[in-house]
């Protein structure tokens, strides 16, 4: 691989988050280095998705701070995260169901589009030029994800595996520096999983995108990630290279405890 893992780009410090009485995250700290693939694993309800939601500002932690490229935040907002180059996909698909694949991915370009309402109303001129330029960019993503044949289909009509791809496409359209993927391979068959793995590795390799990945499939995690964080009941029980984590007795116990 041509990529080289760089400095810490995102640092999460002592994050605690609770919903009413439920402690979803307790005092979690870990960092993410530039260009790496950082996996978050853990049994169901461990707080993995909550962690991503904290990183891109959908949830506000009660305690802790987020350091993004040296800038400190008590909490993020979705808008700030988006502008800072953080994109994500969702565990339970959050696509725009009534829109076509093309429009879903074009929507991901939203922050880069500048034409104002009046220019858009007239269409000819700046709005059209911009639309065509971004369309070309979006078509590159469509080619990359191999979804040319469905670009005009409303996403609500697509099978699950393809919807997952569109979700990834929309995130990629933001040209993010950090990409958060929440179980991108859940519910897929072996072949679809292989495709998705290939896309993730290519994104990481070709564009140098830093990836934070939640995944249940241990084989996949061990194969593609550089470092792994393990959560259990909202606590961090392991952190390190895949081999280290696999040998960690706490991790083994947590997994045996839930899967049996």
């Amino acid at each position: 691989m041509g990529r080289q893992i760089g400095e810490v780009i995102l640092d999460l410090k002592n994050i605690s988050l609770s919903f009413g009485g439920v402690k979803a995250l307790s005092d979690i700290s870990f960092d993410v280095r530039e260009h790496e693939i950082r996996a978050i694993i853990g049994p169901n309800g461990a707080g993995k998705s909550s962690m991503l939601n904290v990183i891109n500002g959908v949830y506000r932690p009660q305690q802790g701070e987020i350091v993004l490229r040296g800038e400190h935040f008590a909490n993020m907002t979705p808008a700030r995260a988006a502008r800072a180059g953080i994109a994500r996909t969702f565990q339970n698909l959050a696509l725009f169901k009534g829109m076509t694949v093309l429009d879903n991915i074009m929507a991901g370009r939203n922050l880069q589009m500048r034409a104002n309402l009046f220019q858009q109303a007239i269409w000819f001129g700046p709005a059209r030029r911009e639309e065509l330029a971004h369309r070309a960019k979006v078509e590159e993503i469509i080619d990359f994800l191999e979804i040319q044949h469905i670009r005009k289909v409303p996403v609500g009509r697509l099978p699950y595996g393809l919807q997952k791809r569109v979700d990834l496409g929309r995130a990629l359209a933001m040209e993010p520096q950090i990409l958060l993927l929440d179980e991108p391979m859940a519910g897929m068959n072996v072949e679809e999983k292989q495709d998705m793995c290939r896309f993730i590795l290519d994104i990481n390799d070709q564009f140098g995108t830093t990836i934070v990945l939640i995944e249940h499939d241990m084989g996949v995690v061990m194969d593609i990630s550089d470092r792994v964080v393990v959560l259990d009941y909202g606590r961090k029980i392991g952190d390190g290279a895949p081999d280290e984590v696999r040998a960690n007795p706490d991790v083994i116990r947590a997994y045996l405890g839930t899967s049996n």
Partner: protein
């Protein structure tokens, strides 16, 4: 001519992003426009203009406005009538209070005022949705009903409470005959439909639809809900305001606040549901349907009654109208939320494949 897109390869994204990418559609629309602009004025009589065509054009414009907000941005409104009223009374006041104010400019300014009012009454949408938003917009309806009835300044202290516009002057050209009124409305409608299409196929349209379909995901890709929702309220209210001003100036000539009551708000909502939520063409279908159905029933039901030897009173016809609307609304909400527009496009899809079933 066979309806096909085979052989029409698109060689650029520009060609693919046209409003009507299929050539046959472009020809059909052109023919329709020529027919509407040249053919109709040649044969239509005064009744057709006054009772059907002019109301249809103006209500189409209003339905477009409602559809942008409800169909595209997913924000329910029961206050459409109020924004028409704001447009109508604002335009009226510009016309009588500003010396030498051209009629068309007054109408457009009516739309601008309605847009500003729309932004204010759209603010609740930032906090509430669904039923609660419907109630908040209903409050707008009641407030403006009250304001135009009670605040005499708006009606220029007219003793009867009704206001009228004596003559319509289009930059020196007096608009008097039904044909002229029809052409004025037609021209404006075409222009506004084009703008609506441009907005909905571009960046702002995607923002509206994103907010409608999944607001959390929309925020995560950097869409600002406040801007998206309030711009939808503004544009929608602008359309409604212009439609309201035309309704008052061109269709009614003189009017009272009741012209823009809650009934009108519901009627507009029904139009977009029956016609097709989130479809420009659906707005036209819905308006046509609602304008034509009562007239059709008025002719058809007594005739039907005659066949079986029953006299059907006018009252009975209007009851039947309510029942049929009610049934249709339920039908479309449950069976085909995309309305007549979807039925139309399904039909076209079939035609494109015909005579081969697959």
């Amino acid at each position: 001519m066979i309806y096909r897109e085979n052989g029409q390869f698109k060689t650029s994204y520009a060609a693919d992003q046209q409003i009507f990418p299929i050539r046959q559609d472009r020809i059909a629309i052109l023919a329709l426009l020529i027919f509407a602009g040249v053919g109709v004025p040649l044969f239509a009589d005064e009744y057709l203009f006054r009772a059907i065509l002019i109301p249809f054009l103006i209500l189409s414009l209003a339905a477009l406005g409602v559809n942008l907000l409800v169909g595209y941005c997913g924000q329910i409104t029961l206050g459409a009538g109020a924004f028409m009223a704001v447009g109508a009374y604002a335009a009226y006041n510009f016309l009588i209070r500003v010396d030498g104010m051209p009629m068309l400019i007054a109408v457009l300014l009516g739309g601008v005022v309605a847009a500003l009012v729309g932004i204010v009454f759209g603010v609740p949408s930032l906090r509430v949705r669904g039923l609660y938003l419907a109630v908040a917009t209903l409050a707008a309806q009641f407030f403006w009903d009250w304001a135009f009835l009670r605040i005499r300044w708006f009606t220029n202290y007219s003793s009867s409470g009704s206001v009228s516009v004596a003559e319509l002057d289009f930059f020196g050209w007096r608009i008097e005959t039904p044909v002229e009124k029809y052409l004025l409305c037609l021209g404006l409608l075409i222009l506004f439909a084009l703008v609506a299409k441009n907005l909905t196929r571009g960046a702002i349209g995607r923002q509206w639809m994103a907010i409608r379909d999944m607001d959390v995901a929309a925020e995560v890709i950097g869409i600002r809900p406040m801007y998206a929702k309030l711009s939808a309220f503004a544009v929608s209210s602008f359309y409604l305001g212009v439609a309201g001003a035309l309704w008052g100036f061109v269709h009614l000539g003189s009017w009272e606040p009741a012209a823009f009551s809650i009934d009108r708000s519901f009627q507009l909502l029904f139009m977009v549901i029956i016609g097709g939520l989130g479809s420009i063409m659906g707005s036209f279908f819905g308006a046509a349907f609602i304008v034509v159905l009562p007239i059709f029933l008025n002719q058809f039901l007594p005739w039907l009654g005659g066949l079986v030897g029953v006299t059907i009173s006018t009252a009975a016809v209007s009851h039947a109208e309510f029942m049929i609307f009610g049934a249709l609304i339920i039908f479309f909400l449950i069976v085909e939320p995309h309305g007549l527009a979807r039925l139309w496009s399904t039909g076209k899809e079939k035609l494109r494949l015909w005579p081969f079933p697959h």
